[in-house]
């Protein structure tokens, strides 16, 4: 991947402007440095977060995160378990709305529009900002129906043939088509964990959202499938903006990074990155 995110030590106004940024469940109050690799801010971003705080009841899960996601960019986030990666991703399409105890502070803009403003239509938002969840969650319906559902409710296909085409294309891009082409009417829940995850990817891209949020899309995949998904992400970048959470250092590797994210504490990250963690 071209874009990477690792925590960095206050670069300019980098993502972590507070010493406690990144969320902290283990209170290492002595650790004050955060590392963000790459630039947290870009010009003309697709989405931008400013001073975002997220609370679950009294517990703060994300502290003061500021970050831009540029157009047609892949931003990868990495960090130890429980540091708030999923939470941050879910704030980007207001998926946290359905958790009653969850509270979001700060600004999150999609193309200069605050998505938390009163008249934001969450249905439209989620159609524009699609999501692949950490745990594969196919509908308990047929494989075909899983992929066709989004396009159908949004009226994206005008005929059965068109819908078939969208389904096939989406499944191909998620590199699942060859495995399931003879079983499109079988339940999606009958697939293996990795296949389910690819089905969920196909379901998300079938709607052609502008931004795709992927929460560890490859955690259940073998290296070959992972490589295919990486190719897909690379290809999707041409048209979409992608935010991805990963535990794979390759995916998050600092290459021609443009973008940065900040999450855990420096020390933890260091250990994590260099494979000394755990």
């Amino acid at each position: 991947m071209n874009s990477i995110a690792v925590t960095a030590d206050g670069i300019g106004e980098a993502g972590a402007s507070s010493p406690e940024a990144g969320l902290d469940i283990h209170d290492h109050s002595d650790v004050k440095d955060y590392e963000t690799v790459g630039e947290p801010f870009v010009e003309d971003p697709k989405m931008s977060a400013r001073n975002v705080n997220v609370y679950y009841a009294d517990k703060q899960a994300i502290m003061d995160v500021s970050l831009d996601i540029g157009k047609n960019e892949v931003i990868a986030m990495i960090g130890p378990s429980g540091c708030g990666k999923s939470t941050f991703l879910r704030t980007l399409n207001r998926m946290n709305d359905i958790i009653p105890i969850c509270r979001v502070e700060g600004n999150i803009n999609l193309e200069d529009q605050d998505i938390y403003r009163g008249d934001q239509d969450t249905v439209l938002l989620r159609a524009r900002v699609g999501m692949v969840f950490q745990k594969p969650n196919p509908f308990p319906k047929s494989i075909y129906e899983n992929v066709a559902y989004g396009p159908r409710i949004h009226g994206l296909a005008h005929s059965k043939a068109e819908l078939d085409e969208i389904v096939e294309k989406s499944l191909r891009r998620a590199s699942l088509f060859d495995e399931v082409k003879d079983a499109l009417d079988k339940p999606g829940t009958g697939l293996s964990g990795g296949q389910q995850q690819r089905l969920c990817i196909a379901r998300a891209i079938a709607v052609s959202p502008e931004v795709i949020l992927m929460d560890e899309p490859c955690s259940a995949l073998d290296p070959i499938a992972t490589a295919r998904i990486e190719e897909l992400i690379d290809e999707l970048k041409e048209r979409y903006t992608i935010a991805i959470v990963t535990h794979s250092m390759q995916q998050a590797e600092v290459g021609d990074t443009k973008e940065v994210f900040t999450m855990p504490k420096h020390e933890l990250t260091e250990n994590y990155i260099t494979g000394r963690f755990g």
């Binding site: 249905v123 989620r126 159609a127 969840f133 969650n137 509908f139 308990p140 989004g150 079938a206």
Partner: protein, 428 residues
């Protein structure tokens, strides 16, 4: 280290014995409990089936009937109107007298006439209306036996009982024995039981009116309780905010589920009949009352089954941009449906077996006619059972058990339907 783990193994092995013993004992308690339940169930069923089975057969007596125009009071070639008014009872009586000329005196003659059901008169009339050319002829016709005579022919009345204590007298027994020897008696399947309404005569009483009444009542109950219950559950579970008011509503729904059913009957009487002036004894009011009674059951089971739908399915639907309503109807409800249907069918089965609230709204009246709609006066199966169980004639005792068998048959069908629907929805 290794020494420690050896000790552990020994300790675990020692405890295993105890654990297995406990498990064995528990299994035996379980089997015993199931067995006890089955024994009681079996006794109950055996009793009901034993008592009710004879009700499914009926005795017929072959009578040589002379369609004497004088006795009927019609001329050959009379119009339908005249034929309808003819004296068929007189013909039945004279035919019986002709078969047993030894019957003398008013008392004996009356006993002779009591061998045949009073329904025979109407059977003969219909028969003659269909075949007017019979006037003036004599032929053998099977006529329905009176309930008491039928009971004797079925072997339910013993000669050992002193004559004064039984309804079938010695002389009637003699006649019946003679008829049997002549091959003039026959046992047939009791179709009247399914094609007739209630009657004062046990041999003519059937459950058709009660079945129709039950059907219309349950129809009203289902049409009201199912949609209202499911929508209330969906709203409370998926859309309503959690606050004091919804907590209060929840507590009240749970309480309502435990309110004795007769209270709903009193409510129905006071509100629907006295205030809204809906017709008495009608399936409409019965259905409304029963739907009030069934609603809490449906709401509670539907909520439980909606609650048990994995939140990840909701997230998945919302994540592709489905609206909350689409999420509920496309994804949550289909998954929750088996549970909702099971709960609803259990509620409906309760309603089917309910009698107390219906007594309060007058569905206890003696109804002979099959109701044609939800506003016709009618009764329902459990109330019919209650009425028959209350009747002194022995003929009604077996009808009671037979009606219970039919009721239980319907309950079994409904529960089987619940299981079938659950399987079907689960496969998808």
């Amino acid at each position: 280290m290794s020494k420690e783990s050896f000790t552990n193994t020994a300790a675990i092995q020692a405890s295993l014995k105890k654990r297995y013993a406990r498990e064995k004992r528990f299994q035996w308690y379980g089997r015993l409990a199931v067995l006890t339940g089955f024994v009681f169930l079996f006794i109950l069923l055996a009793d009901i089936v034993g008592k009710g089975a004879p009700a499914f057969t009926q005795q017929y007596i072959k009578v040589t009937v002379e369609f004497d125009p004088d006795r009927l009071g019609v001329e050959p070639g009379a119009s339908d109107e005249e034929l309808r008014k003819a004296d068929y009872l007189g013909v039945v009586k004279s035919s019986l007298r002709a078969m047993f000329p030894e019957a003398s005196g008013r008392q004996e003659k009356r006993q002779l006439y009591r061998l045949i059901s009073i329904g025979a008169e109407y059977d003969l009339r219909d028969y003659v209306l269909d075949n007017p050319e019979l006037i003036g002829q004599t032929l053998d016709i099977w006529l329905l036996a009176h309930a008491e005579a039928g009971a004797y022919l079925k072997g339910q009345i013993s000669r050992k009982i002193p004559e004064g204590d039984r309804r079938v007298k010695d002389i009637q027994m003699q006649w019946l024995d003679t008829l049997r020897e002549q091959g003039r008696t026959e046992s047939r399947f009791n179709t009247l039981f399914f094609t007739e309404g209630d009657s004062r005569e046990p041999e003519l009483a059937g459950i058709k009116a009660a079945l129709y009444g039950s059907f219309f009542t349950l129809l009203v109950t289902f049409l009201l309780a199912f949609p209202i219950g499911v929508f209330a559950a969906v709203y409370l579970e998926e859309f309503a905010p959690r606050n004091r008011l919804t907590d209060l509503i929840e507590i009240n729904i749970n309480n309502l589920a435990a309110v004795p059913s007769i209270v709903f009957g009193l409510l129905g009487l006071a509100v629907f009949i006295n205030f809204f002036e809906l017709p008495r004894s009608a399936p409409l009011v019965g259905g409304i009352v029963l739907s009030l009674m069934t609603l809490p059951t449906i709401i509670i089971t539907s909520r439980a089954s909606i609650q048990s739908v994995s939140p990840s399915i909701r997230e998945a639907a919302l994540g592709v941009g489905a609206s909350p309503l689409q999420t509920v109807f496309h994804h949550v409800l289909p998954v929750a449906m088996p549970g909702i249907l099971t709960g609803s069918i259990i509620g409906m089965a309760q309603a089917l077996g309910e009698s107390a609230p219906l007594l309060m709204i007058g569905m206890v009246a003696f109804i002979m006619d099959v109701p044609g709609g939800v506003t016709d006066p009618s009764t329902v199966l459990p109330v019919q059972i209650f009425l028959w169980a209350d009747s002194p004639e022995r003929g009604f005792t077996e009808k009671t058990s037979a009606a219970i068998m039919v009721l239980m048959g319907f309950l079994i069908v409904m529960n089987a339907l619940a299981i079938y629907l659950r399987r079907r929805f689960e496969l998808k």
